[in-house]
């Protein structure tokens, strides 16, 4: 039985929640519990595919669950950007689940039921963010995502994990309640609505200077996008187990952040309106600074996961930057980079986790010669790294292409320069690791003779690495789909 499209939309939010409940109920029996996780993940992906199918037939789906305040509802809809994010998150959840099973068992972690349950709730939050039809709904699920990932970050429960989780929650809640919420209420008081509409809802209602202030509130208020100076939660959250890092960096959390900003730029402000605002450039500078600064910091890291965290900060700002360039092609670039970065970064984190499980190594300097012991893992790491740099034949090249094309479209040479410098910096911190892993010899006799990590982990990371390569060739459907976001008001 195939559910109708609008039912599918409701189901997409509910499936992970039901999954979480079942996970808690089957917590005593690990095999059953993990089967539930996998089945839920696959079911969710199926439901999202069903929604994609109806979107391609140009059916308009919109459902209103409840009117929370007069004129303000919890409502969901579909548009190209949301379906992309939902597809990405639900698909990567399957891969991450396979990987988690290997990682959590290989590492004998405590509280695994709590882990899988919170993971499922976080996915429900991500689906809500993806399909939100207005800013209020988006905000509600954005906070669900924040709160449900807190136990995941604090998973280990020791002093260091507590510290990291405190920073994580503190920054995300403080920015969302302190900046994002006032920005939403301000938007509502100016526009009288919070609906995402093609062409935006703010045009002609706000002067240029105030619009810039509002946009700044949004860009910094959506702390999940990690634009400096609200980026500190990301390195702090590195205390979490690796599957959680994958969730944060690739599947849901940071992607929800940049997705939100892109959506606000396109559907709340509207490109036509923002192009008329000269001071919007200041934000482009801020984001450009984040890209360069975060890449420079990444260059100096010795811990693999911390380096990857700073790399994420700079890559996220690519997306925000592309959104803020306001050229049609750069918006496509932003959407495509959400996918490209997700595939690349999840591969890198999976590889880092596999290295840790197999050899207990966490520092870059320890990686000499590891490529010969873990050829699959390090090959995947190399592919992920190349995608971050943006070299063909990887996914990162596709998105960078559209971003650069967009910068030319608007004659924005500052953005062009930022992209070029950042590419050089990216190469400077990824390539030496690959070189060290494959061409250096192990300097000391290893304490432990090890091979590859457990097979579910290797399977997961090879899959995502393959996706990075495949996306280079088969990106047509995604790009075509995203051209839909450029449709003006009907």
């Amino acid at each position: 039985m195939i559910p109708s499209a609008s039912t599918a939309l409701e189901i997409a939010i509910l499936v992970p929640l039901v999954g979480a409940l079942l996970i808690v109920l089957t917590g005593k029996r690990p095999n059953l519990r993990e089967t539930v996780t996998l089945v839920t993940a696959v079911a969710l992906f199926g439901v999202v595919l069903r929604i994609l199918w109806s979107l391609r037939r140009e059916e308009v789906i919109e459902i209103t669950l409840i009117e929370m305040m007069p004129g303000l509802s919890i409502a969901f809809h579909t548009e190209p950007l949301s379906i992309l994010f939902a597809l990405l998150a639900s698909f990567l959840w399957i891969v991450t689940s396979v990987y988690s099973i290997g990682y959590m068992r290989g590492n004998n972690e405590q509280h695994q039921t709590r882990f899988y349950a919170c993971f499922a709730i976080a996915l429900s939050g991500a689906m809500g963010v993806a399909f939100a039809a207005n800013l209020l709904t988006l905000f509600v699920f954005y906070e669900v995502l924040t709160l449900s990932t807190y136990p995941l970050v604090a998973h280990k429960g020791d002093e260091k994990a507590k510290q990291g989780a405190r920073t994580y929650l503190g920054i995300l809640l403080a920015t969302s309640i302190g900046l994002f919420l006032p920005a939403i209420i301000w938007t509502y008081s100016v526009a009288g609505t919070l609906d995402f509409r093609p062409g935006g809802i703010l045009e002609g209602r706000l002067s240029g200077g105030l619009a810039t202030v509002l946009l700044l509130l949004f860009v910094l208020g959506v702390g999940k996008a990690a634009v400096m100076p609200v980026h500190r939660w990301l390195p702090a959250a590195m205390v979490a187990p690796t599957p959680v890092s994958a969730l944060l960096h690739a599947v849901a959390v940071v992607k929800a952040g940049v997705f939100t900003i892109t959506k606000i730029v396109i559907y709340i402000f509207g490109l036509d309106f923002l192009v008329e605002v000269p001071t919007e450039r200041l934000l482009v500078y801020l984001v450009g600074f984040t890209i360069i600064a975060a890449s420079t910091v990444a260059l100096r890291q010795t811990n693999i996961k911390r380096m990857l965290a700073y790399s994420t900060i700079s890559q996220l700002s690519y997306i925000v930057l592309a959104a803020l360039v306001l050229a049609p092609l750069s918006e496509i670039g932003a959407a495509v980079h959400i996918v490209a970065h997700a595939f690349g970064k999840i591969t890198l984190f999976f590889a880092a986790g596999a290295i840790y499980i197999a050899s207990r190594k966490t520092e870059i300097t320890q990686l000499s010669g590891i490529g010969r012991r873990m050829p699959w893992t390090m090959a995947a790491f190399a592919i992920g790294g190349l995608s971050m740099v943006g070299v063909p034949p990887t996914a990162g090249f596709v998105s960078k292409w559209y971003m650069i094309a967009g910068a030319f479209q608007n004659d924005n040479y500052f953005v062009l320069a930022v992209l070029v410098i950042a590419t050089a910096l990216n190469a400077a911190y990824f390539l030496p690791i690959v070189f060290r892993a494959f061409f250096d010899t192990e300097d000391e006799p290893p304490q432990k003779d090890h091979g590859e990590a457990p097979w579910p982990m290797v399977a997961a990371l090879t899959t995502t690495a393959a996706l990075v390569l495949l996306f280079f060739v088969f990106n047509g459907p995604v790009v075509d789909l995203e051209y839909g976001i450029l449709k003006g008001p009907e």
Partner: protein
């Protein structure tokens, strides 16, 4: 029905005092509170249909006789008092049995019912002097109830509240006396009609000052709040929950009634510098007491300071002198009662099992008392103002009202207040969930305590999602109270 809602608890108190010690007085008081809820719900529905309900005591027509008068503003309050009483009284039985000697039960429940009769009387009466009478009835009952706390410091807390409360009530009486001397009437509607003619006289100005200061003492507006933290900390748990949820709220209502109905907003905000007084005090109060709350070792005292801060939000809304600001204030009166009620009941569960609410007993409570702590977290999230809880609804309206006036610094203050709330709530959550317990034995509170607690928690979410009733009543009440502001007849 209108007089019965006051008369039944008052006579019920006399009956309770005559009952034998044991469970009987508790069962009787619970039955009375449920009757009050049934009556209040019916009355509120009628008041919403008809606009105003009026009852003449002894058949004497106002302004000569005493009039009971119910409009949307006090219907909301009556409903709130009855609702909280009906939930807290079933809880009070087991909770108070562990804190107060059994031989005192008849007087204890007599005092509780007198307290409720007084609160209800204040909210339904349309007579200024009658307000004073009921204020004294409920205050005297409160002094007794606080004094019953098991800590000996409860006696000094009760005594200092007695002094402050009496000063407040006397100020109020002086104000009412001056008004009577000038206008010869005590009926509120009649006063409202006669005051404009004499608004220029110094007597009216003096009366206004006495009444406002007197009521502010009762509602614990900073810096007149010093009695509150001790009173809340040392009173028995159930009493604290009931007082925090209703007593200060009723005082807020009296302030609203006198400012907006009796004196009229034109006089209060035009001729008198009310806004210049209330707004700064509210701001300083809400920031300073939130900071003080962070440093408290006793969680009950921490929540008491938080209550003073939340009163700041309500007074802020009143001081805005707009329909939206007043809506926000009235909403927060209702919503804050739900969240603080839930939080204090959760603390009562902890006190029931562990005998104290010091932070020192919290490590590991997340596992030892999972349901109680989950209730505490839910109440805390509501206090912070996370979406889907009532706290979010209040904060949304308050920020919207501040933006409407263009009071940007106030927007910042409201936000900073929420951020401080995150700090003091999360401090507790972290200790309870992430610090290991010394004695890991499970000691969940009995169902008799958990069920009422969770009813309030559920209401926090219910009224956070379905806001038709609360916003509906609050908007109508605010529209009615602020007619004078929009140029209409007061």
């Amino acid at each position: 029905m209108l007089p019965l809602i006051v008369v039944v608890p008052m006579l019920g108190a006399a009956v309770a005092a005559l009952l034998p010690a044991g469970r009987l007085p508790w069962l009787w008081a619970t039955a009375v509170s449920w009757f009050m809820l049934w009556a209040a719900a019916g009355l509120a529905a009628q008041a919403m249909d008809l606009g105003v309900l009026s009852y003449w005591m002894g058949g004497w027509a106002p302004p000569f006789g005493i009039e009971y008068r119910l409009d949307p503003a006090n219907a909301l309050l009556a409903l709130l008092i009855a609702l909280l009483a009906a939930v807290v009284l079933p809880y009070a039985g087991p909770s108070l049995a562990s804190e107060v000697p059994e031989r005192k039960t008849p007087y204890l429940y007599a005092a509780l019912l007198l307290f409720l009769a007084g609160q209800m009387g204040i909210s339904v009466t349309g007579d200024a002097f009658n307000v004073f009478v009921f204020l004294e009835i409920s205050s005297l009952a409160t002094y007794t109830l606080i004094g019953l706390g098991r800590d000996r410091r409860a006696l000094t807390a009760s005594f200092s509240y007695l002094i402050m409360g009496t000063v407040g009530a006397t100020f109020f009486l002086i104000g009412v006396g001056l008004l009577y001397a000038l206008t010869g009437t005590l009926n509120m509607a009649d006063l409202a009609a006669r005051i404009p003619a004499v608004a220029e006289t110094r007597t009216v100005h003096t009366a206004f000052a006495f009444i406002v200061v007197g009521v502010c003492l009762k509602l614990a507006l900073f810096p007149l709040h010093l009695w509150l933290p001790n009173a809340y900390t040392y009173a028995p748990s159930a009493v604290t929950a009931l007082m925090a949820a209703t007593a200060t709220k009723v005082a807020i209502y009296v302030l609203v009634r006198f400012i907006y109905t009796v004196f009229g907003p034109a006089f209060a905000f035009g001729d008198m510098p009310t806004a210049h007084l209330l707004v700064p005090l509210a701001v300083i109060g809400l920031l300073s007491t939130s900071v003080v709350a962070i440093g408290q070792g006793d969680i009950k005292r921490m929540l008491a300071y938080s209550s003073v801060a939340q009163i700041g939000y309500m007074v802020l809304g009143i001081g805005m002198a707009t329909a939206l600001g007043l809506t926000a204030a009235l909403l927060h009166v209702f919503n804050h009662a739900l969240m603080k009620g839930a939080l204090f009941l959760a603390l009562g569960c902890i006190a029931y099992r562990l005998g104290t609410t010091q932070l020192a007993v919290f490590p590991g409570l997340g596992r030892r008392m999972p349901w109680t702590m989950a209730a505490f977290v839910a109440g805390g999230l509501s206090l912070i103002g996370v979406p889907l809880t009532v706290g979010f609804i209040s904060k949304w309206h308050l920020v919207l009202a501040a933006i409407e006036l263009g009071w940007w610094p106030i927007v910042a203050v409201i936000i900073v207040g929420s951020l401080l709330a995150i700090i003091y709530i999360w401090r507790v959550v972290e200790v309870a969930y992430l610090q290991p317990a010394e004695d890991p034995g499970r000691c969940e509170a009995p169902l008799a305590l958990l069920v009422p607690t969770w009813i309030l928690v559920g209401l926090n979410f219910w009224f956070g999602i379905d806001t038709r009733v609360t916003i509906g009543i609050a908007e109508r009440a605010a529209a009615m109270l602020t007619v004078g502001l929009n140029g209409g007849a007061p």
